[in-house]
Structures are given as C-alpha cells and as structure tokens.
Amino acid sequence: MEFSEHIKTANVEDVVLRQPLHPPSRGTLCITGHHLLFSDREEGSSRQVLLLLRNIDAIEKSVENLLGYSGFFSKAGLSERTSGSSGTITIKCKDLQVLQLDIPGMEQCLNIAHSIETLSCLDSVSEMYPFFYRPADLSLQDQWGLSSPESYYSQMKELHGRWRLSSVNRDYSVCPSYPPAVIVPNSIDDDTLRKVAKFRQGGRFPVLCYYHRKNGMVIMRSSQPLTGANRKRCKEDELLLQAVIDGSDKGYIIDTRSSQQAQQARMTGGGFESKSCYSHWKRLHRQMERGKALQESLIKLVEACGDESNNMDRWLSKLENSKWLSYVQTALSTAGLLAECVERDGHSVLVHGSEGTDSSLLISTLAQLIMDPCCRTLDGFLALLEREWLQAGHPFQQRCAHSAYSHTRLQQESPVFLLLLDCVWQLWRQFPLALGFSEALLLRLATEVYASDYGTFLCNSDQERCAVGVKDKTHCLFQALLRPREKDYYSNPLYEPTELAIWPSVHPQSLQLWRGFFLRWTQQIRHLEEAQEEIRNMVIEWGKLALS
C-alpha cells in the first residue's frame, strides 16, 4: 500500500477545529491512509475526532497571508507563530457534516488538502478501509450476511410447490448483477431462463422477490424487455410470465417509467410488454425519477438546508424546487399501488423500469415493508435490504461514490438508497409502533452506505464482491448491527408487531422533511434525539417495573 506517497505532511500541531455542536478546539491534526485524526490537547478535555477520509465529499481551501496580523487565538496567549501565514480547509462530508480546520503554515495546509483530496477518492476497492478494519470483537470467520435467496426459499415452505431455486447463474454468466441463486417458477427450466435473460436488459430476467403468504401472490422484478423498434418477441419470456400467474386471471406490470418514456426506450433497444403479447398482464405506468435528476434534487435540497440566510419564502420555494419531497411522495404512492395490487386486489405483480436496479428495488422494498410484518423487525429489515439491494445488484459503488457536496463531475451517482431510507422514515413516522427499528438505524445506514468501516456496501454486485473477496477479508455491517449492544440501540422501544398491512398516507400534508437526516447537525435535532433517548429510558424503566 503506497498511501504514504500521498501524505507529505502527516502531523500538524496547533490546528483549530470548528465542528457543528462543539465549541472550536485546538489540537493536533494527523492524516493517515484512511483517516483524519484530530486530538484536542487542551487541559481538562481529551476529545478525539476520527473521520474516515472516504466520508469526505468535497473540500475547500483558502490560504491567507497573515503578516502583521495576530490571529484570534494568539491574543489568548497561546503560541504565536513566526511564519505569518495560515490556511483554512473546509471539509464537507457525505453525512452532511461540515467541518473547518484552521491550519498554521500555508504549505502544510496545502499538503493536507492535497492528501485529503487524493485519499478520499481512491478507486481501488481492495485498498479501502474495510479491508484493514479489524475490531477486537469481530472475527473474519463470523458468518457473513443474514439472508440469501437460498435461505428465503428454504424458509418459505409455501413456495416449494410452484417455485424452484435455480442456480442457472451460479457463475454469474447469465446475469452478472444477479446472485448465483434465484427463485423462478417451477415449470421454467434453466435453458428457458437463459433465453429470457437475453431478452432482458443486463440479463435481468424476471425473478421472484416476495411471496405474499396471505393469498399466494408474488412480486417479481426484472429489467425492461429488449423489444426494440421492431417489436421483437420472446416466447420464453411470455411463457415465464404466464407461469407466474398460472391459474389466475391476470397480473399487473408496474413500469416505473411513464408510458411515453417506455415508448421512447424502444428506440434504444429497450421497451415494454405489449398488450398483444402479454394478454393476461395489465401494465400500469408510474413515472419515477432516477439517476441524475435524483442526484440534483439531493444537491439542491442540501444546499437549501445549508443556507442560513434564506427567509421563509425562499426556503419553501427552494424546498419545492428541489423536488425531493415530490420524489418521496411518488415512491411511497407507487409502493402503495404495488402493495394494493397484491394485498387488496389479489394479483401478482412484475416491477421493472429500465435497468431494474434502482426504482424497481425501491418500490418492491417499500411494498414488502407495507405488507409483510417479517420485514419490519430489525433483523427482517436488514435481511430485506440484503436481498433486495445487495444481492439484487444495486450498484452501490457507482451510486454512492459522491454525495451532495461534490464538485467533481457526477456520472453514475444517484441517491436511490437514501430516498428509500427517507421513505422508510416516513413510514416509521406514520406507524411509530409497527417497525422494530429506530430512526437511529436509518441514520446509521445513510452514513455507512457512503463511507464505512465494513465491507457490506462495497462494489456494485455480488459478483464483484466475490472477486475482491469482500466476504473473506472484511466485516459485515449487518452482523455488527445485530450485536447485543447495537441491537438494543437500533431497536424501537415501542415496537408492537402487527399482522396488518401498514398503509401510509401520501398526502403532501402527511409527509415531512426528514429533519433527522437533513438537519442532523443542528442543535434542534439534538433536542429531538434527547427526547427519543428519554422515551427509550422510560420504556425500559417501565419494562423493568412490569417484570419485577
């Protein structure tokens, strides 16, 4: 590892750190291959700030020549520097924290800034911190992950008649972004699957992702069919979908694009399932924003939250203009529609957009939370994320390379997962007893997905993770979150399981800005966190009382 060549200055004394919610403090700054470490040296306090460089989204530096100017701290009788220059580095993190470092000496400042810039966006996955993180209480031999299509299949006895576990993708050759095992209709053999895969973008043929125990209906997901401009057909694809609804009169296809977008996709080789070829399937189009639009929305919203000079009108207009809450509303209502098709209407549904790696996953996850009580426990939710996002091939590395502050030209970045967490938070607010996990878990995931000590969110697919040995050489976040102490902290003290579906209200008046995330670093949110903590303590106290 040649991190050292990027570090010209490893230590600087007399650095002043300004951090939200803390008074400024003076201490030593240290840069390592993966971290920025600040230790406060003032008497009576020994605060240390350890920041993963990967968490840094953008930095801004300003260097001033301070000849003849005695700084703020020198008046207080602290050491006076003879070199008359200093610099300030503003660090903007992916978890939305903004820090400021006042560094004495122009050269040191520039060196530090350079190191941060380079080390915070190293490309090589195997050089990332998870490969070096070795906490004492975790072992690399521990089980990795919580769930897989195999375990889902073996737990769901109801599936066994009509569905089978196929290992057609065991070497990732049929679909590089799918896991080795997938659940498909029993009557469809592997050869057929191979043909279907050729007819779907990226080989993402329809697979089962949820089985609704109450009525035996399922949610399938895939990518768009490659019908193209000349309306190509694929008998095997039609056969597969027919096998899904076997016996029932119809199924629904929820296309996460508008019908116009779906039409246009034909020009570039994509397309949709036409009425004539899939006569038993009814298509519903719901336009969901994706990709760049979503990333820009996040950038605008974070900008608005960071600008304290806004008056009320400007704030509301920027909030509206960012469209973030509109996307939250659309995601929740599309998920509601999906759940409605399955739970109330009693039909199976196939979900896809174009690639089937973003909004399809978003709404299938939300729909499962709405319908399935098993997904609402802490373990169940993490297992759901593992199945529906990690194994289903959401390209985390591409989507979460940068967050809202980055100046670099964005390419594949898109905060789909963050949007999911926001939607889950909205669900939690409307059903504060029905979810087994707390807001703290959502916040933790929102941080971990961008920068982590753990290997869980590395790479873009199961295949890539296998190739670099993520499961052998890093620790699993989900396992770590389920250690007893963490589990306590991330559980919802008011959790009260219910078998009922939890239908969220999607009226704009019922949705809110996720202040816990977007305004995380303000004093007001601390008050709310304290109140949450208070609830936890009270409930534990009462619990003890009831037991005694």
């Binding site: 629904y252 519903l284 939250c305 304290e308 806004n310 009320m312 009108d313 509301l316 909030l319 509206e320 469209k323 809450l325 509109s326 939250v328 509303q329 209502s333 599309t334 509601g336 529609l337 409605e340 098709c341 109330r344 209407d345 607010r429 409307q430 059903f431 504060p432 007893l433 008011l494 009260e496 219910t498 939890i502 239908w503 969220p504 209200s505 999607v506 009226h507 704009p508 008046q509 019922s510 809110q512 800005l513 202040r515 977007f518 305004l519 004093q523 007001q524 008050h527 709310l528 304290e530 109140a531 208070e534 609830i535 009270m538 409930v539 106290e541 009462w542 009382l545 009831a546 005694s548």
Partner: protein, 599 residues
C-alpha cells in the same frame, strides 16, 4: 326545536368515500349519526348550498376549528330546510344566546365558583415578585374609568403618580397606557405593554414621557428601555397621518426604539384564508402544496411573531433591559409578543396551570377582543382574525423544537382552540373584562380552566422534564425557516386519513399509566406483606396469592392497552390507484382528541 333528515350522505373530502346517515339539528348542535359527528353551531363559520346534482343537494359546512364537511341531502327541500335553519341558528341575537349560558355540566354553584377561582392574577403577579420596591398595584382603573379595555388591577412603577398615568392614558390609543405585564425578577427587568401614542407628526405628552422615564428608572440594571413597535414601519408611519404613530426618540429620554414588522389583522386573516384554500382543495401534489404554503405567507407570519418574542426575551434576560411593547391598539400583536416572550423566559408558563395563567393575563384580562376576532356574535367580518390561533401555533412550533420543555402536549393547545370558538365556557366571551362583568359570566357560566384541569391527564406531555426546565429556564429557539412546520393536527384535525395511524404520545401515556398502576399494586403488595409479616401468620402463602392476583390484573391491563393501540390502525381512506382499488371497510378508531364530543 329539532330537525331530522334521513338518508344524508357525508362525503370525505380527501377520498371518494361517503357515509350514509341521519342528520339532526338541535338548538345547539348539528349531529350526524353513523359517524358520531357532533358540530356545535358556534363552530360553524359558513354554510354553503351548492347547486343540485343527480345524487342530491350538496351542503358545505366550514368550521372555525378547521373541520370541513360536505353533506349530500337527497331532497332539495330538506336541504333548504337545513340550510335556512342553520343560517338562523348561526346568528345569535346577543351574548345571552351563546351556548355558555345554557351549558350545564351538572355542577353546583360552589363548584362553579371554585372553577372560576382557579386562576388568580393577583397571585400571579406576586409569584413574579410584584408589588416590590419599584412596582406597585394602582387602583386608578378600579372603575374602568381610565381605560375600559384594561382590567381593574394594574401594576405601574412606584414613581408613576395618578396624574402621570391619567395624562399618559389620554395620549395613548383607547387609553391603553404603559403597564407591567411581566417582571423578570433575576434582572429586575420589566415587560410593559400599551397602545400606540397619539403623537401624529409632532405632538408630545410630558406625562407619557415621564411614565416611560419611570419605567426606565425602575430598572437599575439599565439606563434605557427598549420600545418595541411590533408593526412594520410603513404601517406606523401611515398611522401618524391619523394623529397616531410612534414614539419620537428625541422626545423621550433613554429609550431605544425598534420596529419588528408583524403584519396587521387583515393581512393575517387573508393569509389563513389562502392557506385554507390551498389545503382544502382535494388532490394536492407536493409542488402545489409547497407553493401554496409559501404563497399563503402563513409560516412567514408565524416566524415574524416568534422572532419578535425572541428579541423581547433577549433584551430582558441577556441585556437586563426593560421593554415596552406596543402595536396599534395593543391587544393583538402586543398580546402575541408579550405572552410568547414570557413563555420563553419563564418555565412556569410552560406548565399546564402556568399556560392558563398566561392566557388569562395577556389575552383575557388585557382585552384581546375575543368576541370580535372569533366572530362570536356574527359581527363585522373585518374584525375577525386568527391572532390567537397564531399564538397557539407559535407555542406549538416551540413544543416541536423543545419536546421536553412543556408540561402539556399539543392536544391541550387544540382543546383550548376548540373552546375559544365553542362559546361553551365563559372565559373567552366578550371583548374585555368590563364587558364580562356586565354579563355576569362568573355567575352564569362555567370556566374552561376548571374543565381542562379536571382532564389534565389527557393533556400531559410524557416527555416533559422539570429538570430540563431547570437547566434551560430561558428557551432559545431557532427561527431558521426549516424549523417551522405545517401544523397538520390543527388545520387538518378532522381529516383522519392524513394523520399517523399510531401515536407515540398516546402509547407512552398508556404505558406510563399501566406502569403507575403496576407500581402502586406493587407497593400495596409490599404493605400487605409487611403487615402479614408483622402478624407472622401464614405469610408465604398469602404473599403468593396476592402476587397471583396482581399478575392477572397486569395482563388484563397490558392486553387492553395493546387492543386500544391495535384499534388505532386505519386502512387508508382513498387509494393509490382507483382502477385497481376495491372498497374495503375503513377501520379507524377515534384518535385521542381528534374526535371529541363537545356536548
């Protein structure tokens, strides 16, 4: 008189659902059975009969507590009957017709009297440390001669003699001269209130100047007083042309003058109207909602009031300077700013009892014109304005920022709002104390405060921490725009499909209640044990038996708690896609405080 119409449909304004039932009109209420809807006539702000449709004749009723209902009556004649009866019922001929005079909660005279004695403003000023060596009680307004919209008992600097007071009152709009409303004991700084001076372009009044001087002198910590004019500067300037205006810094020694720019009652009325129009229209996209919220200006006005209260609080608690607050007449914006400022400064006002005292002091006794502003007697529509509602909302915004600082929850605020308009209790009737005495409200009506106190359990905020208040006696809220939220539970109080299906508040209260019971059973058990032990007779066996019985009791409580929470699940009214949806019975329980009966 009672009118009964059958086969009436009640439409849900946010979904396509409707309920069939029977509509009754009584002397005091409109009642719709099937859905347990009770609407007090005084709550109805407007009734509108729409043109006949194929299904019947629609009747839209808009209430002051932001309930909006639409009935469809099958026969037009019935609809017309309801409509015209309502119009008649909605126009009370005078105070005597208000519900408070006929409402009888089965209390005897003594209980009623005790209810009225619950709040004692004399005691409240004593709590603040007044009278003291600098402030005294004056009897100048004993007979409402100097100012008929002020209370009888007023507190002024000891150096302010009667001629000074009388002189000053002649120089102030409606005779509302500067008086003490809150005393910050720690710094001996005072919050005083008054109306605008009749200064015009150049008029002066020596008595008024010396009264301000006296207020300044009463505070040894500071050599000046702030004069806060809560109006926008432009409005104050315009008033000068009418012979009114604001204090000229040159004429008053040792004052610092400051405008804070809260808009007047007409702007506020229009703003709320706009807000209600936006959120009342049915299918609302997120963009429409946010744009509408912005263009209504409502949150901007809320922020302006909180900003002014913060300015007042900082001046008093940080600088230790006394402040004189006024607007035009000193009963709207002045009441908002003084009461909200006091709430920030003094933890007592953040308790249930203290909040009642605060409203009694700054709103009721100092003559906020409840009758006019809340349109109790179908008066001049230009006098109606949601000033008090705004105050309650400001308090709510603060409770959201400081979840541990308030003894009461939002249901307390909502209940007060409900009854400010219900005219069921005497407290808010009329425009000022003098009028209330003439109406003999204390003898003929009941006090809301006693009723709320008897229901105190329902209004507790489970997160309230007296220790927090001790550590943070003065609240320092942020008024960055993103800390303000739309108050859904107020403006959509009756639109159940919009609210969270489960309530943390309610759950915590239930849990706490259960644990209290468990605790007391446990304690009882301990005593039994100890007694038994003393008797030293088959102690073990009895202990076991008793234990068993508490156990069963606990499970019963536990499960009933769970049941009641289970009921709070509701199926979503309205669906995500109408061509897929099938009708399903809605299982919505009465959310605590949402569906209340007011009779």
């Amino acid at each position: 008189m009672c009118l009964q119409v059958e086969q009436v449909r009640l439409l849900d304004r946010f979904s396509s659902k409707s309920t069939n039932g029977t509509l009754y009109l009584t002397a005091t209420h409109l009642i719709f059975l099937q859905k347990e809807t009770f609407i007090l006539h005084h709550h109805i702000a407007s009734v509108e009969k729409l043109s006949l449709t194929t299904t019947g004749c629609p009747l839209v009723i808009q209430c002051r507590n932001f309930r909006m209902v639409q009935f469809v009556v099958q026969r037009e004649r019935d609809c017309h009957d309801i409509y015209s009866s309502l119009l008649r019922l909605l126009r009370p001929g005078g105070y005597e017709d208000l519900y408070a005079f006929s409402y009888n909660p089965k209390q005897n005279d003594q209980q009623r009297e005790e209810g009225w004695q619950l709040i004692d403003l004399g005691a409240e000023f004593e709590r603040m440390g007044v009278p003291c060596d600098q402030w005294q009680l004056t009897d100048v307004n004993r007979d409402y001669k100097v100012c008929e919209t002020y209370p009888r008992d007023l507190y002024v600097p000891i150096t302010a003699s009667k001629p000074i007071i009388v002189g000053s009152s002649k120089f102030r709009s409606k005779g509302r001269f500067p008086v003490l409303t809150y005393f910050y004991q720690e710094k001996k700084a005072a919050v005083c209130r008054c109306s605008q001076p009749l200064s015009g372009f150049s008029a002066r009044c020596l008595e008024d100047e010396s009264l301000l001087q006296a207020i300044s002198k009463a505070n040894h910590n500071s050599r000046f007083v702030y004069v806060m004019d809560t109006r926008p500067k432009l409005n104050a300037l315009a008033n000068r042309a009418a012979g009114k205006g604001y204090e000229n810094e040159d004429n008053y020694s040792n004052i610092r003058f400051q405008f804070v720019g809260i808009e007047n009652i007409h702007v506020m009325r229009a703003s709320l109207q706009k807000l209600l129009e936006v959120i009342g229209s049915r299918p609302l996209s997120m963009s429409d909602y946010l744009v509408g919220l912005e263009s209504s200006g409502w949150l901007r006005h809320i922020k302006a009031v909180v900003d002014a209260a913060i300015f007042l609080t900082k001046a008093v608690t940080v600088e230790g300077v006394s402040v004189l607050v006024h607007c035009s007449d000193g009963w709207d914006r002045t009441a908002q700013v003084c009461s909200l400022g006091s709430l920030l400064m003094d933890p007592y006002y953040r308790t249930i009892k203290g909040f009642m005292v605060l409203i009694e002091k700054d709103w009721i006794s100092f003559g906020h014109k409840f009758a006019d502003r809340c349109d109790q007697l179908d008066g001049d529509p230009k006098e109606v304005s949601p000033i008090f509602t705004q105050f309650l909302e400001c308090v709510w915004q603060l409770t959201e920022q400081f979840p541990q600082a308030f003894e009461f929850s939002e249901w307390f605020l909502l209940q007060i709002h409900e009854h400010v308009h219900s005219c069921q209790y005497g407290n808010f009737l009329g425009n000022n104390q003098r009028q209330r005495e003439e109406l003999q409200l204390r003898e003929r009506t009941h006090s809301l405060w006693a009723f709320l106190m008897s229901e105190k359990q329902n209004y507790l905020n489970p997160f309230y921490s007296p220790a927090y208040s001790e550590a943070h006696p003065v609240l320092e809220p942020s008024t960055l725009p993103y800390h303000f939220k739309f108050w859904r539970n107020m403006y959509h109080q009756f639109d159940r499909s919009m609210h969270p299906r489960q309530s943390i508040l309610k759950t915590i209260l239930t849990l706490r209640e259960n644990s209290r019971k468990a605790e007391s059973t446990l304690q009882a058990l301990e005593t039994v044990k100890v007694q038994r032990h003393e008797e030293d007779d088959e102690q073990e066996e009895v202990g076991e038996e008793a234990m068993e019985s508490t156990d069963t009791e606990r499970t019963v409580e536990g499960s009933s708690g769970t049941d009641s929470r289970k009921q709070s699940y509701g199926e979503l009214e309205g669906t995500y896609n109408s061509d897929v949806a099938k009708e399903e019975p809605a299982v919505v329980s009465l959310e605590f405080g949402v569906a209340r009966m007011t009779c």
